[in-house]
């Protein structure tokens, strides 16, 4: 097992776990946790490929991760702000209670 494949396995596991959290968790904040996991899985892949992949003098992988981190931070801030707004209105972060969109 090479370091690359090790990291890839970990990242795919992370991704799956994140997806699982997104699908099954009912607390909106924890869904965000799942999303963060998925994002980090992707980041991990980038770093792994940068480090152990073909030569990359342009730092494409770290660059991508850097941007991804920045955007993920933004996403987390906005996501949490939205959740807090929703919480203020409904006094709940349970997604199943937020079904006012139902038909």
């Amino acid at each position: 097992m090479t370091p690359l494949s090790l990291l890839l396995i970990v990242s795919s596991l992370w991704f799956t776990l994140g997806l699982f959290a997104v699908l099954t968790r009912r607390n909106a904040i924890l869904i965000l946790v799942g999303i963060e996991l998925m994002l980090n899985a992707a980041n991990l892949n980038f770093i792994a490929f940068w480090r152990y992949g073909p030569p990359d003098p342009d730092f494409t992988g770290p660059l991508f991760v850097l941007f991804s981190i920045a955007i993920a931070a933004a996403e987390a801030a906005v996501g949490l702000a939205i959740i807090l707004m929703v919480f203020r209105h409904t006094r709940s972060t349970d997604l199943n209670r937020l079904d006012s969109l139902h038909g």
Partner: protein, 179 residues
């Protein structure tokens, strides 16, 4: 390789904890742990800068934000969560397992890469910064705009909250006998 071999199981365990623990705060703290471990992995593979940034942003900001919002929202007891666990299992696994299968399949295909490829050198901050601010300057600008927008947006949310929930206490001069 050695640090990775130590770190990877820890990462998987931390992720599992983040996904599986019923108490939201615990899950969040495990997330923080998982992210911190990721940072350590980055450091270990030589991406120092990215690792520190990862630590600063994810552990210092995102995880803190998450626990903070948990503090504010005080999610309910985990008993209910534990009750509905078995039901959610099925659908969750039904969706995620194929994904996992595909990912593992894809990961296993990395053999197409030349095995003998030399490892890339560790990240030099200066050249990284040079690339970042020359070739990718537009992207940096775009991210800057995005972050500004997010900051303003968050401030607006906060402002609204301020207006609706918080009224500044007005000071009144003390009345006699009040001292």
């Amino acid at each position: 390789m050695t640090p990775l071999l130590i770190l990877c199981p820890m990462m998987i365990l931390a992720a599992l904890g983040a996904v599986w623990l019923a108490r939201p705060v615990h899950a969040a703290l495990f997330l923080a742990l998982a992210l911190a471990l990721t940072a350590v992995v980055y450091l270990a593979v030589g991406a120092d800068f990215i690792g520190l940034v990862q630590f600063m942003v994810y552990v210092g900001a995102v995880a803190v934000l998450i626990v903070f919002s948990l503090l504010i929202t005080r999610p309910g007891d985990e008993a209910e969560e534990l009750l509905r666990r078995p039901r959610s299992w099925v659908t969750g696994l039904a969706c995620t397992l194929p994904v996992f299968a595909v990912l593992v399949y894809a990961a296993s295909r990395h053999t197409c890469l030349p095995d003998a490829a030399p490892e890339n050198p560790s990240l030099s901050v200066e050249s990284f910064g040079r690339v970042l601010f020359t070739t990718h300057a537009p992207a940096v600008l775009a991210v800057g705009v995005l972050l500004t927008a997010v900051m303003i947006g968050a401030a607006l949310f906060a402002k609204e909250a301020h207006a609706s929930s918080h009224t500044e206490p007005t000071r009144k001069p003390n009345t006699p006998g009040d001292s």
